[in-house]
Each structure stands twice: as C-alpha cells, then as structure tokens.
C-alpha cells in the first residue's frame, strides 16, 4: 500500500443559517463526521445524493471553506488551523476543479490570464515561460493555443470546463479535488479528459478526489469509492467491490438508478421514494432510514458506525450482515 497523502478524520462542516442579532437561527450539518484516506497516486471517487456534502467536503479539504471540527492532514501537515502564509505554500500542491464552469471563471480575465494566475501568484517562471506553459496546458486539455487571448463567454460549457482543468494543472499539484469535472462534457471529450487524468496520474503520481454522479465514469477511473448521504459516509470500498457487492441499501439504489445507454434495458429497480431529509433537521439514528426500503425500528435508535466487512470495505448499516442486496 502506497503512503497516505491526505488523511481526513472526523471532519465536520456546519453552516449557521438565519442567525442574526434578533434570531438564534439553526445549524445545517453539511458534513458531519467524515473520515477518509487518500494514498499517493490514488484516485478516490466521491458519490452521493445532491446536497449530501460532497462539494463542501472537497472545499473543506483545501480550506476553501473552514471546517468546524476535525482534522485534515496533507503529507503529514495539519491543514486545519494552519496560518495563512503556510497555507499559501501548501495551496500550490492542492488544487480544485470547480463544479460550475460558468460561475468559476472570471469573465473579465482572458483565458491566458485565468490559467496563468496561479503561476503568477506563486511567482513561477518569467512572463515568457508562463505564456509558453499556458499554451502547453491549453493543448494538453485539447484547446488551441490561440484560446489564451479569448474570454470565457466565447466558449461553450464543456470548453470552459477544460479551461478550469488547465488552470488546476498549471502549478503541478500533488492532489486535485475534481468536483464533477466531466459532468458538463460530451462523452467523447469526457473520454479525452479521463484519459488525460489517467496520464497525469501515471506521469505525475497525482492523487485525485473525484466527485461525480456518473457511476460508469467513477467505476472506470477510481481505485476506491466513498458513498455519502446527508453529510455521512454510508459505504466505502474498492471500485471492483462496490459495483459487484454493494452492502449498503443506498449504494444499491444508486447502482439501480444509473441510466444505461441501451433503450431496451428495462430493469427492476429499487427506486427511492420520498423526500430528501433536510440537513438542518436530519433523521435520528441512520440518516438514510426515512428512504430505506429495509428500515426497521432499531434504525431510528442508533447511528450506525462504519463497520469493516472486508478488505478496504466498510459499511454503515446495522442490517448489513442480514441483507443480501445482490438478489
């Protein structure tokens, strides 16, 4: 097993909502006690319901959002509470590709300025070196070098996402949080970007936390997968195990719901019913129980801990031993 690069322990991110001078407000528990490890060169997939806290977790790892509690160690250094100057030094080693390619590119900066910004910030190379590097990066993500002189609004959604990827790669990071980097891309460009990420991990030993909704992409790209629901980890396993032997009812329902590119495939599905519970007022016990077809009374009483059920496979469900989800 390769050495651990990122180690997250019991991380919590809580947002105060509606708090003012006159009102107490409430707390929204976006991430509520998440632990996970990412090894050097490993690609870990993060999947889960929309609103389950994936983006918040990814940003908290880089301290783009302040964690409320818990620890994030990056290559041995505690990131939580690190003073700004040390954090800046660490930042060039950890980058993020943002979920929304529209909101995340400054419309007043040229593409060249956007990609070169981090190089400039970290004073890497001369101006000519930086221009050269920007051109190389554009080509690497499949855009013409001339794109550097143009502005974000002149590009389609998918093209903008590639600009975001080039920006993240500019400073040669060790670790990238990729927040749905290919969701906005058509499948042929998605395939190019996935191949690019595969190259980068092979060439540079890059570690990636890959947030996504497309389970076939996650299966293809990731060594390991973490499944989140309402701020909690439900299951974590190697990609191979997760897809063939899911042990959590939520994982099973995710796999069932994935659309397959074949109009004839009409399948039996465990389709989730009911509303997503609110993270302001999460269910007692297992947070999934209000939508779980297998919930029993005990599920409302105890919060299930992540239990190891096999090599690198852990599940948070009190009924995991008695359920056979592969029938």
């Amino acid at each position: 097993m390769a050495e651990t690069l990122v180690q997250v322990s019991d991380l919590k991110v809580h947002f105060p909502i509606g708090r003012s001078l006159f009102k107490d407000g409430v707390t929204l528990k976006a991430v509520d006690g998440v632990s996970l490890d990412i090894a050097r060169g490993e690609v870990v997939g993060l999947v889960g319901e929309s609103g389950s806290g994936k983006t918040t977790l990814g940003r908290a790892l880089l301290r783009l959002i302040e964690p409320t509690e818990g620890s994030v160690r990056f290559d041995g250094t505690e990131v939580v509470g690190l003073p700004p100057r040390d954090l800046k030094a660490l930042r060039s080693r950890m980058q993020i590709i943002f979920q929304d390619p529209y909101a995340s590119l400054n419309p007043r900066m040229s593409v060249g300025q956007i990609i070169g910004e981090a190089l400039h910030l970290h004073s890497i190379g001369t101006r000519a070196d930086r221009d050269e590097r920007v051109g190389d990066l554009l080509e690497k993500v499949g855009l013409p070098r001339t794109a550097a002189a143009r502005f974000p609004h002149e590009f389609s959604g998918g093209q903008r996402q590639r600009i975001g990827i080039a920006r993240a790669l500019a400073v040669n990071p060790d670790f990238i949080v990729a927040d749905e980097p290919v969701s906005a891309l058509d499948v042929s460009i998605q395939a190019q970007i996935i191949n690019l990420l595969q190259d980068l991990r092979q060439e540079l030993g890059l570690s990636i936390l890959f947030i996504g909704h497309d389970l076939s992409v996650i299966e293809f790209l990731c060594d390991r997968v973490v499944v989140m629901y309402l701020g909690h980890v439900m299951e974590t396993a190697t990609a191979a195990d997760l897809y063939t032997q899911p042990r959590h009812p939520y994982t099973r329902s995710l796999l069932d719901a994935a659309p397959v590119p074949n109009p004839r495939a009409k399948r039996d599905r465990i389709m989730l019913k009911g509303d997503l519970p609110s993270p302001i007022n999460p269910p007692s016990g297992c947070v999934f129980r209000t939508r779980c077809p297998f919930a029993i009374e005990a599920c409302a009483q105890v919060e299930p801990a992540l239990e190891t059920v096999g090599p690198r496979h852990a599940v948070a469900c009190i009924r995991q031993a008695e359920l056979n989800l592969m029938e």
């Binding site: 058509d186 460009i189 595969q198 191979a240 994935a258 659309p259």
Partner: protein
Amino acid sequence: MTETTTAPLLSIRNLVTEFRTESGIVRAVKGVDLDIESGQTVAVVGESGSGKSVTSLSVMRLLAKGVGSITDGTILFRGRDGQVRDLVQEPETAMRRIRGNEISMIFQEPMTSLNPTQKVGAQIAEAAELHQGLSHRQAWARAVEMLSLVDIPEPERRAQVYPHQMSGGMRQRVMIAMALACNPALLIADEPTTALDVTVQLQILELMRRLQREIGMGILFITHNLGVVAEIADKVAVMYGGRIVETAAVQDLFDRPSHPYTRGLLASLPTVDHAARAAGEVARLRAIPGNVVDPRNPPAGCDFNPRCAWAIEACRAAVPPMLPVEPGHATRCIRWSELDG
C-alpha cells in the same frame, strides 16, 4: 401567421445563428433542421461547442443583443391557439408572452439564470404570477407546490432561502420547478439533470415523463448522457460543428449508428475491463482523436473529416447532404453504407 393544426409543434428549417466577436464572425449554427411534435421528446446530443445551446437560445430568441443573431432560416411554432408563428420574425413583445409561458427553458447553468438576491420561492411565484395571472398568494402556493413536486425537502422553508444556500443539484431542481410552473407546450431542457445524482435524475426524468403525459408537452432535451437519451428520448439528433449530422428514432440510433461521429460517441463510453484492472493496468478509453471544430476556422467539406478514420478526398470537397438510411433515419456522411466494410 397561418392556421394549421396538423403542423408540428416546432419546426426549425435551415437555422443559421452567428456571433460577432472581437476576432470576427463566428457561425455557431450552420443550417439546422429539426421537428418536434406535441408529446414527443427529442434528444440533442453532440460535441461540446457544436451549437446545441445556441440552437435552443435561438428558439427562445435569447441570444445576446448586438452579439448573437439569427441570420437565416425559420422557426415555426404552433401555439396553444393553433396559430403557427415564425419565431424568427415575432416582435420582442410577443416573444415575451411566449417565453416562460408556452415555451419554457431549463438552462445549463443554474447559478447564472437564478437571481442571487431573491428568494427562490419568490422567483418561481413571479413566473407563475406573470404568466398565469395568479394572485400573489396563489402564486406563492404554486411555488411551494412546484418545489415539492421536484422533491425539494421542506418546500415551505426552502422557498425562503437564496440560491447560494442550496446545493448545485437543488438549484437545478428549482430551475425545473420554475420552468414547469406554467405548464408549457414546449419545454427546452439544456442539460437539466447533469448536476443531479442518479436517484434524483431518475425522479426528474419520471416527473418530466408524467407531466408530458398529463399536459402533452413536447420536450427538446439536450444532454451528453447517452444513458439518459436511452431512458427518455423518442427521437435523437446528433450535432457536430453547428450541424445535425445524424437523426433517428432512439432505438435505431443505438442499433445502427450511421455516422462516424455517432459511432465514436458510442465507442467512447466507459466500460471497465476487469482483467486488465486486476493486472494493474491504467486503462484508456477510446476517445475520438483530435480537437473540436474551431468555429472561426472550420474545415472544408464535412466538419468531421479531420478526425474521421473513413475520410476520403470527396469528404473535403463539399459538405455532405443528409442522406436517408431508413425511414426516419438520416446521416450526413457520404460513406455511411461502407462503415461496416
């Protein structure tokens, strides 16, 4: 204005849309033909930058003023009153009545199309108030009802929050709620489920199907996800470089893809080779080599020829016409019948 009730709901002919930019004219849509019937779902798939969003913005007449314009073609739309209008020629005041009422759109980017300073409930209510003549209180009730319809938890409370306080997927569902609040005759959905996890995606697709049955709306559904296409579409149009290069009933497209680009798309879907993975190999996908079309500098002839394994001299000589493959199935490739050879 002509009166024909048998006309398709939407009929686009030879649509050309251009943008004026600092580096010259960009022709983003280069002669698109597309029909949508009531109750039908037409999926548009294709290369990033191929003109899918610009086509739908042209129908809505929402191109940036002074920058983007429709320079040729017609967009015939049959309204609820049975009248057929050419949306290209409609005055802006008439378009304002049609938009968000008879035709509504779910945009690709939820954050830029929601007002960040207004509570989401108020935004939906405003749309309902404006177009359906509801009272303020009725409109607010309608907004809460729509939020619960798209499975937003605690809709009364969520109606009171601002867009940035929601996750990306929730914002997308707010957009969907807003678009459906007026029971549109035509719904244009630009990547509506891309930001959603698969369980919510499935719920949204079911919801759209149900509303389609109930109110008979036609849907133009832009997506990259061929799984979603298989799930929801009746008919598919594949776009490349500003043109439709293949169109077919959904089953025919998957059974007999007849354009090299469509084949490339299907071949680049991720599939896991378990044996190779166990052997520790870093797997590669079969991506289509080369780059997307630079609209400032399109290739001569077939737009796909620089990336096409079947390209011959004749492919560079002229843009191929749409050629019939079977009833309801056409391709813009002169070599389509030889692709299996």
